[in-house]
Assembly symmetry: D2
Homo-oligomer: 362 residues x 4
């Protein structure tokens, strides 16, 4: 049974014709405290939403307006599902007392140098980071809290990247507990195509993707790398190095992140039970992150449409590595659901309002 909230917040979505904006609307349409206001788009301004997002039946007759500060005015919440660069530009023109959720990368990184190296443009500044479960720790076993403590009352939130969410949630318990080394981490991901957005590129055609597995951004070039490192530092890592390889596989949604790390120096005698305990402790109270029972491994199908992250961990003693696997829906816990979760915290709503944990499977 769901409960409802008494107060209603009016939300505008910029970039409502894209996958991130569309997914926010899918969740918002069933959120007990949200009322969907203005929807905007760039090249699709003037179109019916139903022509572009045919799955959003309850909003099908809405007409998209051009993305301007004026169109976005008069709302309690503004969601930006815009290309990198565009969100910081429009955000700068929005009032301070409106809650702005940026689904893009513009305000995620603390380090301007990281931003400039990976994005090649001027840094737009840093916003509170919208990953509620991010552990704040010193890496020596002392945990100060989670990122949700930073989100109450926030008026600007940088929603994390989808790959970043999967890798961070998979590995951070071990880092925070000082059990695994954040140096020489290796992450390989299986990614659904919706993560690449609606851009018309030859390698994103169905004819190319069906029946194939396709790596991209191999060799340390992916823009999510500095964001992962930033998170692991928050979780207690003094220094981070990570080999990160995403792979497109024939599914529309989902990320399965296999992340391995060596046992930390001095912890080489850790047992499988020690490892499991660290992960279990980290997530025991979390509503959306779940350590599966021993021996059961996550699948992306189990998270489809849900705000769930499913995590499993094992110790490969022969390899000297802890292996974690995390499954999320890249558009929900990886984007729009995460945004709603952070928004709930910022607005003082129950953290789980409007979010489901039941995936659409099989």
């Amino acid at each position: 049974m769901v409960s409802t909230e008494s107060r209603t917040f009016r939300v505008a979505v910029a970039g409502a014709s894209g996958y991130a904006g569309g997914e926010f609307l899918r969740v918002a349409a069933r959120h007990p405290a949200l009322e969907v206001g203005t929807l905007t788009a760039h090249s699709n301004a003037g179109a019916r939403l139903g022509a572009l997002q045919p799955h959003l039946r309850s909003l099908a007759d809405r007409v998209l307006e051009p993305t301007t500060p004026e169109a976005l005015a008069g709302h309690d919440v503004v969601v930006l599902g815009l290309p990198h660069g565009a969100s910081s530009e429009i955000a700068a023109q929005l009032p301070d007392d409106v809650l702005v959720l940026d689904l893009g990368a513009d305000h995620r990184l603390v380090s301007a140098a990281d931003w400039e190296q990976f994005y090649g443009s001027a840094h737009a500044g840093t916003w509170p980071y919208g990953l509620p479960e991010l552990i704040h720790a010193d890496g020596a076993g002392s945990v100060a809290g989670t990122q949700r403590d930073q989100l109450a009352g926030a008026s600007r939130i940088a929603v994390p990247g989808c790959n970043v969410t999967a890798v961070t949630l998979g590995l951070q318990p071990g880092v925070a507990a000082g059990l695994v080394s954040p140096v020489d981490v290796v992450a390989v991901l299986a990614n659904g195509y919706s993560g690449a957005g609606k851009s018309l590129k030859p390698h994103l055609l169905a004819s190319e993707g069906l029946g194939s597995a396709v790596p991209y951004a191999v060799g340390g070039t992916h823009r999510h790398i500095p964001e992962i490192a930033q998170n692991l530092r928050t979780a207690g890592a003094p220094a981070v190095s990570i080999s990160f390889t995403p792979t497109l596989v024939p599914m529309s949604r989902g990320i399965l992140a296999t992340v391995t790390a060596r046992l930390a120096p001095g912890r080489e005698d850790a047992t499988a039970a020690d490892v499991r305990a660290a992960w279990a402790d980290a997530y025991s109270g979390e509503p959306f992150v779940e350590l599966l029972p021993e021996g059961q491994w996550p699948t992306t199908a189990a998270t489809l449409g849900a705000n769930t992250a499913l995590v499993q961990v094992a110790l490969d003693a022969a390899a000297g590595r802890v292996v974690t696997v995390t499954a999320i829906d890249n558009l929900v816990k990886g984007t729009a659901g995460q945004a709603v979760q952070a928004m709930n915290l910022a607005l003082g709503l129950p953290e789980t309002a409007g979010l489901v944990t039941e995936g659409v499977a099989p």
Copy 2:
């Protein structure tokens, strides 16, 4: 925004480890007036639900009991997601004042002869048919109402077959309006694999299904044929003949039904506008069946996880046929969502309670 109901109904699900039972639980977990009670299974009795339905996080720790009348006692609603034959056997042992929803075929057909011909066993009797949008008409343009009128207060409901739902919703407006002939109908369906259930058969392996299109039950043998004919008769057809061919295609969920019928004798001069008007009239007030704007064709992805049926119709004058295409999620509008919709009507709840119209797409 969703609203809630004040009264709560306790529901038991027999066959909770299967796809139909699991999908009912997915919907029930978010229904404002349902409380999930006992869950039962056959060979999986004793197992945690989370081990078998890993996507249903909020119910993961429930333990499955054996399917017995005793286990199912003490509930307001009992859902039967059981093999053909098994549901009528257990249903006969349930009290009269409990609402029983049979997701299987046992009680759908009015004609015992049809049942015996297609199922090869004794007929268990007929229950009120759970397709609320089914039109009751005389085939000469006079519409008496819809099946929802029969469902208020019902204590037994036979939930329709998934293919049947798609074909009936696609074609019935033309039949009810006397515009198309119910004789020599041709239906070809693209079907997702979840429609075949969890049975372990070689042709249902992923290795066989991926990259392939696979017809089955070709040539008039499919058990859904008499049920379609029964529905079209309710919609006003004096006699029905239909060529029906389902085809497995590489998706987990979804039915795309292409159904064509000739213009009725005497209506050969009907225009495209006449055709469109008949369909628009039939579905103008329906919350879950939508005639798409002209020129936009349904896709199954747009219905994933939603209780929506998307319909489009065109007149192919050169071929002398009306062509309709209907998309549904076979497990939602084709099974569990339909069951909830009928249950809502039976219990006096709002017809849309607990059901969404937003699909999980892309």
Copy 3:
């Protein structure tokens, strides 16, 4: 074991960066009597073939030239894998004594009126039609031969459309035998995405196609309709009408065509054995078209990469229709393999040279 031919023919391919041209090259690379000469492209001129067709390892270092008559000169065979309109333009500039295979539609239709209605441009004239198994009959049971008789020594060949091939091969035996009516035929196809080519359109993205079934060109608008009708007339139909609906399903290659037709007037008492006999007779000697054993239905996976058409037929007496299902690989028997088969006949080579009947499955 394969045998080789002594003489070698040099072949140029215009449009070598597209799917049709690429597939011709895949087959040509293993053809015992072909030597691959010049490869041309339009916007991709100057590129290495390996960058665009990474699967064609033996030709990876070839560089694409611009598509001009000069570049194509000096070959025995020229293959045109070009957009409609472009092939007739370049073909007009090629010498008469070169064998030209047009993989596009420009020269398929006999009727200029049909061409103008469905393609909206001036008709470029008609070439010998490259479907060797096309039956020439009078529709009263008298068969004059097949289209392969027309191909020996031809210097221009119009290679059939992929959907046309599947529908024609499925239905023509019944038409030629006078057993089924070519009026009120209904065809519904499950199509892989490679049939849509490499064009960058939103609905062809993997994110949109994965997990979905998507109809297109519904209601009598598809350009393959007049070509199917033309073939059925060749097979003996006095008049043809057909409802034709293609459906994109999540596979890269393959067409599964479900085609139904009524028993012909006067033949309503035909038995299942009569029907089977007509199909068995038609294809008993064919190397690439196979009527499967009774009860076994075609799947597209079984034809992947092969020049095979798998056909099955049943009589649905209750519906009064014969139902046929045909599976082909749209790029092989539907395009490039068919072109090679026709070329072999034109050049006096064994019809099967360079073609395989073993599909790449599972």
Copy 4:
């Protein structure tokens, strides 16, 4: 153009109804020096091959015999596509002068201890290992040759595992050159479902696999691990440790192996050019293993049906790791094509006889 051989070898296939046996037959049917003899099966004995392997048209009428030494007698080559344990049992009963190709694992491992640890049964002995490109080196830059030198005249060949082939080919150049460390290697693979065979297990159903990514054998338990280590030792590694995680993704065929390793101690200053040079040197003369041009990454689709391994390598200086990605078709270069390649060498045929390098794409 292909050339043919004058002598013909008669081949029997045990396990012809399985995926490995079927794939061997697909290749054998077009091999210029092979004649397909007896086909055997276990539970499918007595069936037509066409009923079980409908894609193998040229062999469809062959009837499967029970797998016995008598049925396999009188052939030049016997191929064993049998479960682990079964192949060693039958192999022990075959004459010494017959070439036996074991597609299973029974005779791959040199170490009986490894065998017993990972397979839990008695070791059947070691056969010459059928990976022709396996480098024999001392790990200090001195290369003695490749495994193909061991295969001429062999009468028993243990064909490598599919995952093993992908990982070995991806990493061995760096190991042989002493450039990367074989300690703390991390391999994550995207795997098609045919690698799991035809066994009827719930997680192998299409309904479960479509739209999902599914890890298995995580944490150091996969049986291919000791075989990979054995190969890397042959390539010069003094000691090996590897974290190995396979992942089922929604494709029928293909392996994409992402393998990373640290730069070897003392080689931390190696440049990207040094890395590329090591891989280029290793594979410059190989007919089936190809280092792609810089910046182009392998996809599994490009290898479908071909005996090709496509390899790319990059240096991630920030992570201190070399990253390699290798794509193969698990049933061709991973199984049956590899077997034919090794057989060609054993029989003195051209190594490439009967094998293609052109994949069936898109």
